[in-house]
């Protein structure tokens, strides 16, 4: 598989999410994740992981979603490239809010807010 496949699969996943098919989106993002790993592309890997998180959230699988969003943050730590972190913090906080854990939600929202004024959180 090549990079253009990966881009196409990610696009498919997003389209499914938009159309309200999180289950189908999950399948695409899963394929995108393994493709990105094969290609060694950590930025696209984070996008795929974030897509998995979003797919889980839409299915109200919040614990699973938190795990995926946390994987984005872990990857950023590993690579030192922090694109997507703001959104990951926000999404994790959203999940904790849904789970009724307001303490943890507040903790992650604070991280999210502290990054809002930073210049880039490109997708």
């Amino acid at each position: 598989r090549v990079r253009s496949d990966l881009i196409r699969i990610l696009k498919e996943g997003k389209k499914h999410l938009r159309d309200g098919h999180p289950g189908a989106a999950f399948v695409e993002f899963h394929l995108a994740l393994s493709t990105a790993r094969q290609l060694g592309d950590s930025v696209e890997e984070k996008k795929a992981t974030r897509g998995l998180g979003a797919s889980c959230q839409r299915q109200r699988k919040f614990r699973e979603a938190i795990n995926y969003h946390q994987m984005v943050l872990d990857k950023s730590m590993e690579t030192g490239e922090h694109s997507g972190d703001t959104e990951a913090y926000g999404a994790i906080a959203d999940c904790y809010t849904e789970l009724g854990d307001m303490e943890k939600a507040a903790f992650f929202y604070d991280r999210y807010i502290s990054r809002l004024e930073q210049d880039s959180d490109t997708e």
Binding site: I7, L17, R18, G20, A54, Q57, R58, T86, G90, A93, D94, T97, E98, M102, E103, A105, A106, Y109, D110, Y112, I113, R115, L116, E117, Q118, D119, S120, D121, T122, E123
Partner: protein, 96 residues
């Protein structure tokens, strides 16, 4: 901590606006936009939204950490809920 759900709803509301506007403009631009440019356009939309949100979001998260009273934080919350119609807002994620 009472303000936490408002943060979520405000984030959602503004994200929906951002996505709708971004999509509208990308359709207008057609398919001939290079990926690098699309990325920058998306970055622009996030940059604007995040910088606008910073003030309101901070105003919802200031219990104890500074001189601002809890009462003020709650007032900010009510005001934001009125302004953005957040009480009637569905708490769906990323749906439009």
């Amino acid at each position: 901590l009472e303000t936490v759900p408002t943060i979520k709803k405000l984030r959602q509301k503004v994200e929906n606006i951002r996505q709708a506007e971004l999509e509208r403009i990308l359709i207008k631009m057609g398919d001939d936009v290079p990926k690098k440019q699309k990325k920058l356009i998306e970055e622009l939309s996030k940059g604007i939204v995040n910088k606008i949100l910073h003030g309101p979001m901070t105003s919802l998260r200031s219990d104890g950490s500074d001189a601002r009273t809890v009462g003020e934080t709650i007032e900010n919350m009510y005001a934001l809920e009125r302004m953005f119609d957040l009480s009637t807002e569905e708490a769906g994620i990323g749906r439009r």
